[in-house]
């Protein structure tokens, strides 16, 4: 739907990765834009909604990126592999669910929807796992969906694989954007990224297949991610929910949402392309917190009590039940009761 770039992505990148003001001369040295050219590009960023402050002594500070700059930046910062088409990026001010939009995109574009990223400033019908709702105040979280289509001949896509690869990727991205004093991002099986025992991000993976134009099947994973970026305790009215969530701001890191978004998209792409998986699995297990206490789950309508003895990215939880049996609880059908 969109035409050519309206912003100068390297300029935005230079401003986005600065925590201190930068002088115009330093920007010129870094990206080659000078004088009127630089002024014009700064104006374009402002037109796209970016808030840039200039102090006569210190220089320029980017206070906030504008939604209008996100598409161009993301396409530039997170290109698809060589030989593939440019990444499709759609930024919505408000949409029902980015998952639904992504699915519609696969329906209409088929394989060309691979790598597409749908971002919403606000979601009115955001979904969580097992039909739960994802609620985030507008402007304070990054909510997006990324489409991953299996290469021809790769067979069906696995929810579990996408879930654990995405969880590792989001944890890596959260750490990367909080350097030089990175947060310690953990994974709570199966789909939450946690810090200090509270939820920082949630992941929802849906898969579906359809037949392509030439009759070959298209297997798509629709990966939904929500990261609490600048949510503060006062933004959440439900006290129970308030105690269970955290955000980068609560953790002491004020980071622009666009950086978090680009970080997640880049890391998810890399994690899904990683082979062999052994390293990814090892990192996932290292980040996963395995509770040692006795727990209760519901799986396929049954109540199960027992202890977790191990985790497997494909088989789910490996549990020793109270009756002494060892069973697997797959992520797709299991709810943690407590």
């Amino acid at each position: 739907m969109s035409g050519s770039a309206i912003i100068h992505a390297p300029l935005l990148d230079a401003l986005l990765h600065r925590t201190e003001p930068i002088a115009r001369e330093s920007l010129t040295a870094a990206i080659g834009l000078r004088g009127m050219e630089l002024l014009q590009e700064l104006r374009r960023l402002a037109d796209a909604g970016c808030v840039i402050e200039e102090h006569p002594q210190h220089g320029l500070t980017l206070l906030e990126t504008g939604l209008g700059a996100w598409e161009d930046y993301l396409r530039w910062r997170c290109p698809l592999a060589a030989g593939e088409q440019p990444r499709r990026v759609e930024v919505y001010r408000t949409t029902g669910s980015t998952q639904d939009r992504a699915r519609a995109l696969v329906e209409s574009l088929g394989r060309a929807a691979h790598g597409a990223v749908i971002v919403a400033d606000e979601q009115t019908a955001g979904r969580g796992r097992l039909g739960r709702r994802w609620v985030a105040p507008p402007g304070k979280a990054v909510t997006f969906t990324m489409v991953n289509i299996a290469a021809p001949g790769d067979g069906r896509v696995s929810v579990d694989h996408h879930m654990f690869a995405t969880a590792v990727a989001v944890a890596r991205a959260a750490e990367a954007v909080t350097r030089p004093s990175p947060i310690d991002a953990r994974i709570k099986w199966p789909n939450d990224v946690m810090c200090d025992g509270r939820k920082l991000a949630g992941i929802l993976v849906e898969t579906f297949s359809r037949s392509g134009n030439n009759g070959t099947p298209i297997h798509a994973a629709i990966i939904g991610v929500g990261v609490n970026v600048s949510v503060e305790p006062g933004d959440v009215s439900d006290p129970a929910l308030r105690d269970r969530l955290t955000s980068l701001v609560i953790l002491g890191h004020r980071v622009d949402r666009l950086r978090v978004l680009a970080g997640c998209v880049g890391h998810i792409g890399a994690a899904l392309a990683a082979s062999p998986h052994a390293e990814l699995v090892a990192e996932w297990k290292r980040r996963c917190t395995i509770p040692s206490r006795r727990m209760e789950w519901e799986s396929d309508g049954r109540r199960i009590h027992g202890h977790v003895i191990d985790l497997d990215p494909y088989d789910g939880l490996i549990v020793r039940t109270d009756s002494g049996a060892t069973i697997h609880l797959p992520a797709a059908t299991t709810t943690v009761i407590g």
């Binding site: 939604l67 598409e71 930024v91 029902g96 995109l105 574009l109």
Partner: protein, 156 residues
């Protein structure tokens, strides 16, 4: 029903006090909502909202007739869904995707009828009125202006 003079006075008041929205309801259940965009000074947008439910005291014959001159479109009894911004109009979520609505589609206030892209941001536009789509006034991919009618809806 409001006469043009009173209406003018109200708009003046809104501008003078920098109000963007005014919602009035008289004891007979007649309701008038006035909206103006703060950025576009002097361009009040007016929506006539039908009385929410039949109220016993409303003279049924005269009320609809009185509201006719204020109807936003020439087509009698139809309500226009207008563009809230300057941008590019799209009828569907993607190039080959099914259109959100077609002539004859039933819509509720919450139905998404189209997308308007402004500065590389997609804005889903809701019908904001319940009824049946009677006419699509703009072509897919066309540039639209602030306040430009996009669809005509037969309320009901």
């Amino acid at each position: 029903m409001l006469d043009p003079k009173t209406l003018k006075e109200l708009v003046k008041l809104m501008v003078a006090n920098d109000l963007t929205e005014l919602d009035l309801q008289d004891p007979q259940g007649e309701r008038v909502t006035l909206k103006r965009n703060a950025v576009h000074h002097g361009q009040p947008v007016m929506h006539m909202v039908p009385a929410p439910a039949p109220v016993a005291s409303v003279p049924s014959a005269s009320a609809p007739a009185a509201s006719e001159p204020a109807a936003p479109a020439a087509d009698e009894g139809l309500v226009a869904i207008k563009s809230p911004m300057v941008g590019t109009f799209y009828t569907a979520a993607g190039p080959d995707a099914k259109a959100f609505v077609a002539v004859g589609s039933q819509v509720s206030a919450d139905t998404t009828v189209c997308i308007i892209e402004a500065m590389k941001v997609f804005n889903e536009i809701k019908a904001e009125t319940a009824g049946t789509i009677q006419k699509i006034l703009v072509n897919n991919g066309q540039a639209v202006e602030f306040g430009q009618p996009l669809y005509l809806v037969k309320p009901g």
